[in-house]
C-alpha cells in the first residue's frame, strides 16, 4: 500500500509541476487542491481526527460549563447533555470533528493563485481557527436545542439545523477569503480571444 501511495504522490506532484510549467492556472488549481485534499485525507486525517475531536469536545465543554447546560468529556470525545430525566451523549466522530472541512479549506487555499506564500500561511491559520470555532458554535447550538427541547429534537438539531449553521459560517469565511479578496484585486483590461496557431488547427 505504501509504495503504491508514494508512486501516486510522485505522479501527482509531477502532474502539478507540468500543469504549472504549461501555465494552466485553472488545471493547476484543480489537480493541485483536489490531490492535496485526497492525500491529506489518506495520510493526515487518521492522525489528527482523535486530537481534534478531543479539542472540539474540550472547547465546547467550556461553553457548557459556563452555561451549565452540558458537560464535556474530552478524553472520550463526548458531550453529555442532561435535562430532567432525559439525557443524551453526543460522540464527536471524524465527521463531527470538522476535519474534512479543515482539510478542504487548506487544500483550496494552497493552490488558490491569488495569495503569496506568506499570505497563504496567515489565511490558512486564520481559516482553520474560524472553522474550528464554527464547529464549536454548531455543537453548542445542537446541545442547547437538545437541552431546551429534549431528545426528540436531536436528529433535526444535529443533521439539519447544525449543518446549516456550520455551512453558513463556512460560507462567510469562503466569501472573505476567496470572493472579496479576488474582486478587490481583479484586473480590468483589454480582452481578446486566443487565436489557434496554424500548428494546432
Amino acid at each position: 500500500m505504501i509504495p503504491f501511495l508514494l508512486a501516486m504522490l510522485a505522479a501527482w506532484i509531477y502532474l502539478v509541476v507540468v500543469l504549472r510549467r504549461a501555465k494552466l492556472t485553472f488545471f493547476t488549481f484543480l489537480v493541485g487542491s483536489v490531490g492535496l485534499f485526497i492525500f491529506m485525507m489518506i495520510l493526515l486525517q487518521p492522525l489528527i481526527t482523535a486530537p481534534l475531536s478531543m479539542a472540539v469536545a474540550a472547547a465546547t465543554g467550556v461553553i457548557g460549563k459556563v452555561t451549565g447546560m452540558f458537560h464535556a468529556y474530552p478524553q472520550y470525545s463526548l458531550v453529555f447533555i442532561e435535562q430532567g430525566r432525559e439525557s443524551i451523549s453526543l460522540y464527536i466522530d471524524y465527521e463531527c470533528s470538522g476535519v474534512i472541512e479543515l482539510l478542504a479549506f487548506t487544500a483550496l487555499i494552497w493552490f488558490f493563485p491569488l495569495y503569496n506564500t506568506m499570505e497563504k500561511l496567515i489565511v490558512n491559520i486564520s481559516g482553520l481557527i474560524w472553522i474550528f470555532a464554527a464547529n464549536i458554535v454548531r455543537l453548542t447550538v445542537i446541545s442547547v436545542m437538545v437541552y431546551f427541547f429534549g431528545n426528540n429534537i436531536f436528529f433535526f438539531a444535529h443533521a439539519i439545523f447544525g449543518r446549516i449553521v456550520f455551512y453558513g459560517l463556512s460560507i462567510l469565511l469562503y466569501f472573505y477569503v476567496f470572493t472579496r479578496s479576488q474582486i478587490i484585486k481583479q484586473k480590468v483590461g483589454k480582452f481578446k480571444y486566443g487565436v489557434l496557431t496554424s500548428e494546432n488547427t
Binding site: 494552466l24 485525507m41 439539519i160 460560507i171 481583479q186 489557434l196 496557431t197 494546432n200
Partner: protein, 455 residues
C-alpha cells in the same frame, strides 16, 4: 397508517440531512421562481398598442459580419414595426471582410429601410458609443449582427415602453435558432445544441423573467437590449475597458441612475447555436470574467456580510463565485467518503435525490416557459418536444459550471491585454511539456544503456 407516516417522515428527514444545503440554496429558490412566474403569467395584462409608433434607432455593431449581416437586416426588414419609423445604424469597428459590400447590397434589397453606415475604432463599446451620439430615435435598441429578430420583437418592446413610463431599460429574450440546431450534422452535437437551447430558454424565460419581477436582473443582454434615449445618454455610456460592456451599463443604470432593468419576455432574438465545445469554453469564460470585472468596478466597496441579505448583486456574486469553491471540493470529497467507510448506498442515494430534485426544478421552469411561449406557437412546439432533454440538464449545467469555474481561477493570473486560450491550445501546451520530458528521459536511458553496453 400512523406508523407508515412516521416512517416516511423519518426517511425524509434522514435524506434531507444529506441534501439540505443544495435544497436551500438552489431548489427552494427555483420553486419560489416558479411561483412568481406563475403569478406573473396570471396577472399579466398585455400592453395596449400606441396610437402612433415612435421613431426608433436600431444600432447594429459590425465586425467581420459579412456572413450574417444580410440575414440580420432581412429580419429587421420583415419586422412588423412600421419601417418608416426605424432608423438602422450599422457601426463598423474595423472589419476586414466584405461587410460593407453586404451593406451596399442590402440598400438595394431593402430600399424602404433607412440605413446608415458609420466607421468606429475597434471594439464593440466604441462602436456603440459612436452610434449613441448620432442617434435620434425615442428608443435606442441594440442588436448583434450575427442574430435575427423575431418579426414581433421590436413592436412588443416599444409597446412595453409606451405603456410603462417607469421602464427605462429593457432586455430581450435571446434564444438559439432552432432551425440551425436541427441542421447540425452529428447527433451528439445536435443533442448538445438542443440542451443549449433549453439553457437559453431557462436563462431568459425563467431566470431573468422572475428576476425582472423582483427587480434583480444582474445584466441585460448585449445581443438585444433597449433604452429610452433620455436615459442611456445620461449614463457614462459604454465602458471600453471591460469585456462585459452590457453588464457594466446595467450596473450604471441601476447604481448611478437608480433605475430598474426589465425583461421584455415577448421580444425574441435568435442567435446561432454554439459552433463547437471549444467556442463554448472561451465564450463562457468571457462571460464569467466579465462578471468579475464589473463586480470589481461597482461592488468592491460593498462586499460585506450584510450585502448578501441586502444587495442581490452581492448575492448573485456569492452564488456564482463563493459557492463554487466548496462545491468543487465536495464533488471529490464525496468520492473520498466512499473509501472512508461511508456506505456506497448513502452517497449514491443522496446524489440521486439531488439529481432528481434538479430535474424537478428544471421541469417546473419547463412548465413556466411553455406558458410564456404561448404566443409563439412554432417555438413553443419545438420547445415542448424537447422534454426528454430535461433529465440531461443537470449534467449540462455541471459542464458549464466547470468552464465558469475555470474562468474564475484563470482571471486571477491574467495580465493587461489578456486572452482566453482555446482548450485545444491549453491541451497542446500540456502535451508539449509532457512529451518533452519523456523525450529527455528516453534520451538519458538510451545514453545510460549505451554506456553500460560499451563497458
Amino acid at each position: 397508517m400512523e406508523f407508515l407516516l412516521r416512517k416516511i417522515l423519518e426517511e425524509m428527514l434522514f435524506w434531507m440531512a444529506w441534501v439540505i444545503i443544495p435544497l436551500i440554496m438552489e431548489i427552494l429558490p427555483a420553486i419560489g421562481g416558479f411561483l412568481i412566474l406563475l403569478k406573473k403569467r396570471f396577472l399579466h395584462k398585455s400592453a395596449k398598442p400606441p396610437i402612433r409608433y415612435p421613431e426608433i434607432t436600431l444600432i447594429i455593431p459590425v465586425y467581420n459580419s459579412a456572413e450574417s449581416l444580410e440575414e440580420c437586416l432581412s429580419s429587421v426588414y420583415k419586422s412588423s414595426y412600421p419601417l418608416s419609423m426605424i432608423h438602422v445604424m450599422l457601426v463598423n469597428n474595423e472589419s476586414r471582410d466584405k461587410s460593407f459590400q453586404v451593406f451596399c447590397r442590402a440598400q438595394n434589397t431593402f430600399p424602404e429601410l433607412s440605413m446608415q453606415w458609420l466607421n468606429a475604432k475597434q471594439g464593440k463599446s466604441k462602436a456603440l458609443n459612436l452610434a449613441l451620439f448620432n442617434s435620434d430615435g425615442k428608443y435606442i435598441i441594440h442588436i448583434d449582427s450575427d442574430g435575427k429578430l423575431h418579426p414581433e420583437a421590436l413592436k412588443n418592446m416599444v409597446e412595453r415602453f409606451e405603456a410603462n413610463a417607469h421602464i427605462h431599460c429593457l432586455t430581450g429574450v435571446i434564444l438559439t435558432d432552432p432551425k440551425m440546431i436541427e441542421e447540425t450534422q452529428t447527433f451528439p452535437m445536435r443533442l448538445f445544441r438542443r440542451a443549449e437551447f433549453l439553457e437559453y430558454c431557462q436563462a431568459f424565460l425563467a431566470g431573468r423573467n422572475y428576476e425582472s419581477e423582483l427587480d434583480s436582473i444582474y445584466t441585460l443582454s448585449g445581443a438585444f437590449s433597449a433604452f429610452r434615449k433620455s436615459t442611456i445618454l445620461k449614463t457614462q455610456l459604454y465602458n471600453t475597458d471591460t469585456v462585459c460592456e452590457d453588464t457594466q451599463v446595467t450596473f450604471q443604470v441601476r447604481r448611478l441612475m437608480k433605475k430598474s432593468i426589465y425583461l421584455c419576455e415577448n421580444a425574441l432574438f435568435f442567435v446561432d447555436p454554439i459552433e463547437n465545445l471549444g467556442k463554448l469554453y472561451t465564450q463562457r469564460q468571457r462571460w464569467q470574467t466579465g462578471e468579475l470585472e464589473v463586480s470589481h468596478m461597482f461592488l468592491r466597496d460593498h462586499l460585506k456580510t450584510e450585502g448578501f441579505f441586502k444587495d442581490f448583486m452581492v448575492r448573485q456574486l456569492t452564488y456564482d463565485h463563493t459557492f463554487a469553491f466548496p462545491r468543487m471540493i465536495w464533488y471529490f470529497a464525496l468520492i473520498c467518503l466512499m473509501f472512508f467507510n461511508y456506505p456506497f448506498e448513502l452517497i449514491a442515494g443522496s446524489v440521486l435525490i439531488l439529481y432528481v430534485l434538479y430535474v424537478f426544478s428544471a421541469f417546473l421552469f419547463y412548465l413556466n416557459i411553455l406558458g410564456y411561449l404561448g404566443n409563439f406557437k412554432e417555438i413553443r412546439r419545438y420547445y415542448a418536444k424537447k422534454w426528454y432533454i430535461l433529465p440531461m440538464m443537470p449534467m449540462y449545467n455541471l459542464y458549464i459550471f466547470w468552464i465558469r469555474f475555470a474562468a474564475i481561477i484563470n482571471s486571477i493570473r491574467r495580465r493587461s491585454g489578456w486572452r482566453v486560450d482555446p482548450f485545444q491550445e491549453e491541451r497542446k501546451r500540456f502535451f508539449t511539456i509532457l512529451t518533452g520530458d519523456l523525450t529527455r528521459v528516453t534520451r538519458v536511458i538510451t545514453k545510460l544503456r549505451s554506456l553500460v553496453n560499451t563497458n
